[in-house]
Structure formats: C-alpha cells, structure tokens
Symmetry: C2
Subunit: 390 residues, 2 copies
C-alpha cells in the first residue's frame, strides 16, 4: 500500500432474496417524482417491473418511464434521457437493470441539469461535473451482474457515429445512493449474458491485478475474489439455479469493481480499451469482447510482468512450480485461465463478434492507448493482438 | 452469500504518509469545540500530538483535552469522559491513538447526552441508543493497528469491579465519520504492541472464518487478508521500519474488522470472549490474551469443523494434502499457525499474562459463552482450554 489515497464509498447495499422490500424505506428519502429507467422490457416478462412499480405506487410516487436503454447506451439516448429528467422534474432516477442501465442513469444524472453537450464534456473530454453542479440521485435494482456499476462511479457511453465507446469514472456524487441486489433477479438471464457477465468480473479483477511491482493487500483481496468467482462460476454453469453460486457471483462482481481493489494500485485496463473499441464497431456484448481478446493480450504482455504472472498462476490456479521456469509457470496460469473460459463457455474468437481482417485497423484506431500496465501497447501491437484474437 | 443483509459503511478513510493533511479539510465540517482524546502521552513523545494540535489551532478550534485513556478503558473513565463532553459542549470527538482510544471515544459519543448509566445500558445490557439519541460525531487519527475500530461500530469497555470486559457493536451513527491512517504513526510502537496488534488482526480474521457451512465470497476475501497479513508481518518483524509492510498491515487491519467480512457469515468470537475475560482479570494486552488461548482453542474445536480447517490449511498456509487424512491436513494448518506465531513472537502461554491455576475458574466464570462457531463451549471446556494455555 504505497502512496496516499482516500477511500470512501457511500452506496448502501441491500442484498438477498428479500432485499427489494428495502426499496419502500429508501423511497422515503426522495421527492415525489421518480424517473424509472430500464432496458428492453425483459423486466416486464420476469415480473420485476410489476414488483417495483407496485412499491412505487404504494409510496405515492409520480413515476415517469424512460425505457429502451440499449446494452451499449448511446450518446443520443443520453440526450433524450437528460431532456426527460429535466422536464419532468425528477427527484430520483431509479435504474432497474444491469450495468448498462445504471451506467446510463449516471449519465442522465449529470446531464439533466447541465446546459452543454454531456457526451462531449464528461465522456469525450473526461471533465468532472462542477463542484456546484446539480446532480440527480440514483437508486438501482440490479438484474444482471458484471459491471459493478451499482457501487461505483463508472459509466460507459457509446457514440456509434464517432466510432467511440468511452468510460468515465464520476465521483461519489454520481454513485448510486442505494442498490438492491437480489440474486434471484439475475436467474432469468440467458446463459450467454450470464457468462459474459462472469467474464466481465474476471476482467475487472485481472486488469487491476496485472500492474505494479509493490506488495499490496489489494492484490491478496483480488486473488481471493478470483478464487471465489472461479468456484462459483463452475457451479453456476452446471446449475444456473444454484442460488448460493449466483449470490457469490453477484457479491464478487460488486467488490471486484467498487472503489476498494484499486486503492494504492496501478492498473492496466487495456483489455477494456480494446474490448470497448470492438463494441463500438460491432455492438457485441461487452463481456464477450473482453473474453475474445484476453488470451492473446495476456500472452503478449506476460513477459513484461513475469513475477506477477507466476505468483498469480500459483495463488489463483494452483499451478505447481516445481521444476519449472518462471515463464513456464506464468504460461501455465494463462492456460488455466483459458481452460476455465472454455469450461464456462465464453467467446474465444473475435470473429464470432464481427471482427474481421477488414475492420481491425479501424478498431485499433478507436482503441485508447493507456500508458498503464506492465507494457504500453502501440497501435501495431493492438493490431497484432486483434489478429491473434480472430 | 446466503441470507439477507445490508452493507453500508460511511467512514471516510485517508491513507498514507501525507494523510494527516486531510484533517484540516475535515474539521471544517464540525463546530468549534473539539474534545481531543488520547492515551498515556506517547503521542506527545513521538510528535503526533504537536502535529494534530497545530492543525486544530490553525482551524481556530476550541480544544478540550481528555487524556489518560488506558489500554483497557474503564467504565469509570467512560463516566468521566461523558461528563466532560457534555459540559464542554463538544462538537466533535477527535480520538488520537489505537483501538482503545477510539473504542473509548465511541462510548463517550453515546454517553455524553444520555441521562442514565451508559455502562449498564449499552455494554452490560447491550441496548442500542434510541433512534433520536444525540450522538457526538467522532474522527480518528490512528497510531496503532489491530482492532479495526477506525471503520466499525465496535467498542469494548472494562469494569474491573465487576470483572467484566464487554464489547458492544454500535450502528453507523457511532462509527467514525473519518479516520486518518498514516503507517508512519505506527512505527514508534514497541515491538510487543506491534505483534500483539498483528495477532489481534489474525484473530479477527480467524474468528469470522471458522463458522458456517456455506460457500461464501467473504471466506475467500478472508483468506486473501490472512495471506497478506502473514507476508507483511514476516517483513515487519524482520524490519519494523519497512513502510510497505507496515502499511499493508494497517490496511489489512481495517478490512479485517470493518463491516465487510461478516456479510452473510456466521461468526465464532469465542477466542475474544476468553481473551477478554483474561483481560478483565489481568489487564494484559488484548492481542496477547488472544494469542495465548488460540492454539488450545483451535485444537479443541478443530474436529467439529474439519472440512473448513482443511481448506484453510491449504489455501492460507500452503499445506500439501497428498496422502493425508482431512484431520492431518487440518492439524498441519494449526501447526503452521503456531509456527508463524513463534516467528513473530507473540505470547503462547497464558501464565506469562497472569493466568494461574487459582484464577482459571474465575476467568471461566467471566467468559461469555456464545452459541456460535462450530462447537458451543461449556464452562468446563473453557476451563480445559485455559488449563491447556498455561
């Protein structure tokens, strides 16, 4: 734990099968108008919409609906939501859905009373809301796991016209005030979405882990979360109705990317940068874009962080070191990761997602090259990794 | 993660070598009168008192001193502090010290404007402050690590006349609003106190870990924190000036006993119950009382939770399972724990702390028998464990 940092996370979490009952109590803290934000209507089919609106009705709230939030929420949709939030005088944005919906709610919360172009200011130019900015409070009812958006300030918005998918990490003012985590709500999710979410979690863990030279408590916590995720995901793919496994995955997701693991840590995030560029060009499912490039990426950077890869192989995957070089141990770890990915059934080839020899250069051009991690990629290396991922 | 729970931790943490500079900013949130609480004066010798009072002076605060907080703060001292806090009109209690000082500040914060006998109500009868109770806000500058008091609601008070040392876990209203964690401030601590603190942390981890049958993300996080503590403590006892090691220990202590690991977990806490009874009779250092009884305790309960002990032996201590019974693996884990305790130099015999054949029965009578963990101890079993610990 080198360096100075502040840790503060104000989000209240209500976890468990009965957690939605806490919504009633929380609603008492906000004014009458609730902007109810959700996606394509799956919450209507699985009954969550009905349960949530019943509680809103009992609480006497004036509900304004903002539906149709897409898996990769767009800058256009953000404009639409901000306009609605402002004109209806929303006192609370209640996001019901997965990371996309909560990410979107964060964008709306800062854009509603902001005069300018929120996409340009907050995402493209990475500015922070002014100290006296009016930011609408957010509550979340989580129905998909993966992004950790329920307990952090992260928000990703896509601009297809510009070929950009950009994440912004907002401060505490934008973080959900409360989040309701009911593992049962995640159980109607199709398997493809479930395993994409699981890999998103793993990627959050790996991208915070593979950076920095110092010995750090965060990395030990990170290894614990990886081991929890591996154990629970194996149970969940065998039996998606295993409540215990699904609940461990949900809790792991929250702690994998709230504000804890990054404390005093250098981070990497190049898998997310490449994955987001693929997403901007193909609209593929986020977790799958990460899965498709991870093995080529880690093979590529492994040699620059061998000691950490070798530690990881042993601590997380139980690789035995006897009689092996550090490089062999590290590669055995990456092989174990790949084996687990095959086991849970994530996409291992970016061709399946719409990446082709023809659009690789455009994707590389949209990839933000961060000066982080064990090695700083060039555009040419991104192209190599994308080609390996086909 | 079975069951329903709420997670919410409002404490802001400022960590690092420069963290005290954040005190200035935090003081702006509180009224003019600060009750400055500390122990026996070591903060005057090491210069921390001077740094803190300089910042209080610059902020124009009216400072009232409440010093002489003892390692095991007493019910009498609590009465004295509450009276002072009330009469001086304290707006903030600033605790500068270790867990004892912060535990004490929590007692004072609820007792100051409470009419009755705070020891009886909150500790002996384990009641909660009334919903509309006036509770003074607390800030902490940590100079010793171990208890985790800086980010939780726990508070232990001792009544020597009654032979009782009782912990109370208060709710969020009593938790420190902010805590300043500067690893350098812990470096002047004598080795005895340092290793006692390290064992206190380990005991918090073990007592939350050894209970429950379910697979739980908390246990994986717990294993990660144990591994971090073992690695960092080995470095710290070799070189107490190793900033990185001391900082990892400090951060591990906070997360070992804030509100995270207990989520959806059954817990044990019998080592603390026996240790606190020893403390009430001998006034011995808290962490050493836990160390003295741990090996006999775990040998005693191991057979009731064999699968978990065997998992722990492998995951935390790297015990190899090949060709061994589950019991052998478990015992190898306890042996590894004992080896590490010898290595860091904690007390392994309760005789050293003043436990004798003569006072064992009285200590057992003061031991709260909790219906928790893998096995519910009887008074006779407590006596056996105490005898084994001599």
């Amino acid at each position: 734990m080198l360096g100075n940092f502040k840790y503060s996370n104000p989000t209240k979490l209500y976890f468990g099968e009965d957690s939605l009952s806490s919504l009633r109590e929380e609603l008492g803290n906000y004014g009458p108008t609730v902007l109810l934000t959700y996606g394509g209507g799956s919450i209507k089919r699985n009954g969550i919409y009905e349960q949530v609106t019943a509680i809103l009705g009992e609480a006497g709230k004036h509900v304004v609906e903002l539906s149709g939030v897409m898996p990769n929420p767009t800058a256009e949709k953000l404009r639409e939501g901000a306009e609605l939030a402002r004109t209806c005088g929303a006192d609370l944005i209640l996001a019901v859905g997965g990371g996309s919906t909560i990410d979107y709610a964060k964008g709306v919360s800062v854009a509603a009373h902001y005069g300018g172009n929120a996409w340009e200011t907050f995402y493209k130019h990475q500015q922070d809301p002014a100290p006296d900015a009016r930011i609408l409070p957010i509550g979340a009812v989580l129905t998909m796991v993966g992004t950790g958006s329920e307990m952090n300030g992260g928000s990703v918005i896509t601009n297809h016209a510009e070929g950009l998918k950009i994440g912004k990490v907002f401060d505490e003012r934008v973080m959900p005030r409360f989040a309701i985590l009911n593992p049962r709500f995640t159980m109607t999710l199709p398997r493809y979405q479930m395993v994409a979410g699981i890999f998103d979690i793993m990627s959050h863990l790996l991208e915070q882990y593979f950076s920095g030279e110092d010995d750090n408590t965060s990395d030990y916590l990170n290894e614990g979360l990886q081991r929890s995720l591996i154990a629970a995901s194996r149970k969940a793919v065998t039996n998606p109705d295993d409540y215990e496994a699904r609940s461990n995955i949900m809790w792991t997701a929250t702690w994998a990317l709230n504000t804890l693991l990054k404390c005093a840590k250098l981070q990497d995030w190049m898998v997310h940068m490449i994955g987001q560029a693929i997403g901007a060009h193909t609209d593929a499912t986020h977790g799958m874009t990460l899965a498709a490039v991870s093995i080529p990426y880690y093979h590529h950077i492994c040699r620059y962080g061998l000691p950490k890869f070798a530690r990881w192989a042993q601590a997380v995957w139980g690789v035995r070191p006897e009689g092996k070089t550090e490089e062999r141990i590290a590669f055995d770890g990456i092989d174990a990761l790949e084996g687990w990915m095959r086991e849970i059934g994530v996409v291992l080839s970016s061709s399946e997602l719409g990446v082709t020899e023809e659009n690789i250069e455009a994707i590389a051009d949209s990839t933000l090259l961060l000066p982080t991690g064990y090695h700083h990629l060039t555009r040419e290396e991104v192209i190599d990794i994308l080609r390996d991922s086909l």
